[in-house]
């Protein structure tokens, strides 16, 4: 079909989804998780 995506475009889309889209949120989430986990562990002893 004319409109079907090429293999290269599909790979690009997947790579974009993992490494490009919302990358700032992904990096921040990792840091936030570490900070939150340490704080909870220290203050509430979980």
């Amino acid at each position: 079909m004319k409109n079907e995506k090429t293999k290269k475009e599909k790979i690009k889309t997947i790579v974009n989804k993992i490494f490009v889209n919302n990358i700032e949120l992904k990096i921040a989430s990792v840091f936030a998780a570490i900070i939150f986990w340490l704080l909870i562990g220290y203050f509430f002893g979980i």
Binding site: E4, E9, N21, N22, L25, S29, L39
Partner: protein
């Protein structure tokens, strides 16, 4: 033991189970923040991240109130989103699906170059034809979910063609009154009602259709609205409260292409829209 010593002891006696906990927590944060971003409330993600970093710094310096701040953060993080997005959360819970759960912030933005070109051509052709025949129309192009707006109209989900757009806006067709919502190469819904702008500096010839387009672009900066005037056939575009009028084929193509590919706000603002 101070917080700093606690962090050191954690690093010294690390266990693999903790990685699982951290990964789960990171997923939770990412899912919530992507949810905020999808609803144009990315500022809430920034604020929560900054608050966490601040509490972390206070804890390192052994501030007395740090424990209270952590408790307050947990409370705020639980209460604020549920208050702000109560209706979205209720709707989301009823329509949960794995696809949306894994990628909540963009659900349909993987168009090929040909798809984009074809969609743009169709929109531009439809606008030109409607402009020639003085048929009024309002097209909202967005890459974000506009569930609350879509629910005011009739859901379509059909492939976009110029003929379909012209048919929808043909006077006396049941769906001609209202806006169509376009995402990627689909018309998601037709006959949708949009919030009106309350601005009083708009040209007098702007009617309800134009006001609705501006109102929508003000409340949702990620969208672009295209309006064809019923009286004059003039084609205008609205984005983030800004208005461009008397659009020709070239400009309209540029604006529509940009609106379609502006994925997750990564694409720089089109120079046309100015500051």
């Amino acid at each position: 033991m101070t917080f700093f010593e606690y962090c050191q002891s954690i690093i010294a006696s690390f266990e693999w189970q903790w990685i699982v906990e951290l990964v789960l927590l990171a997923f939770l944060f990412y899912w919530l923040w992507a949810f905020f971003k999808k609803r144009n409330a990315v500022w809430l993600a920034y604020i929560t991240f900054l608050a966490l970093v601040l509490i972390f710094i206070l804890s390192i310096f052994d501030f007395v109130g740090a424990r209270v701040y952590v408790a307050m953060f947990i409370l705020a993080f639980a209460i604020i989103p549920t208050t702000l997005f109560a209706s979205d959360m209720r709707r989301g819970l009823f329509r949960m699906s794995w696809k949306n759960f894994l990628n909540p912030s963009n659900k349909n933005i993987d168009l090929s170059h040909e798809d984009i070109t074809q969609t743009v051509e169709n929109i531009v052709r439809a606008c030109q034809n409607m402009s020639k025949n003085d048929i009024g129309s309002l097209i909202v192009i967005t890459n974000k979910s506009l569930d609350t707006i879509v629910e005011t109209g009739t859901a379509l989900g059909s492939l976009l063609t110029s003929e379909l757009i012209e048919t929808i806006f043909f006077p006396k067709s049941p769906l001609h009154d209202g806006a169509i919502i376009v995402t990627a190469n689909r018309i998601i819904a037709a006959g949708c009602y949009l919030p009106l702008s309350a601005r009083n500096d708009l040209p007098k010839e702007f009617g309800t259709r134009h006001r609705a387009a501006i109102g929508m672009s003000e409340s949702n900066p990620s969208i672009t609205a295209i309006v064809v005037s019923e009286e004059s056939g003039i084609i205008s575009a609205m984005h983030d409260g800004k208005i461009l009028r008397y659009l020709d084929n070239v400009l309209l193509t540029q604006i529509v292409t940009h609106a379609l590919v502006a994925e997750n706000d990564k694409v720089e603002e089109l120079a046309l829209w100015g500051e």
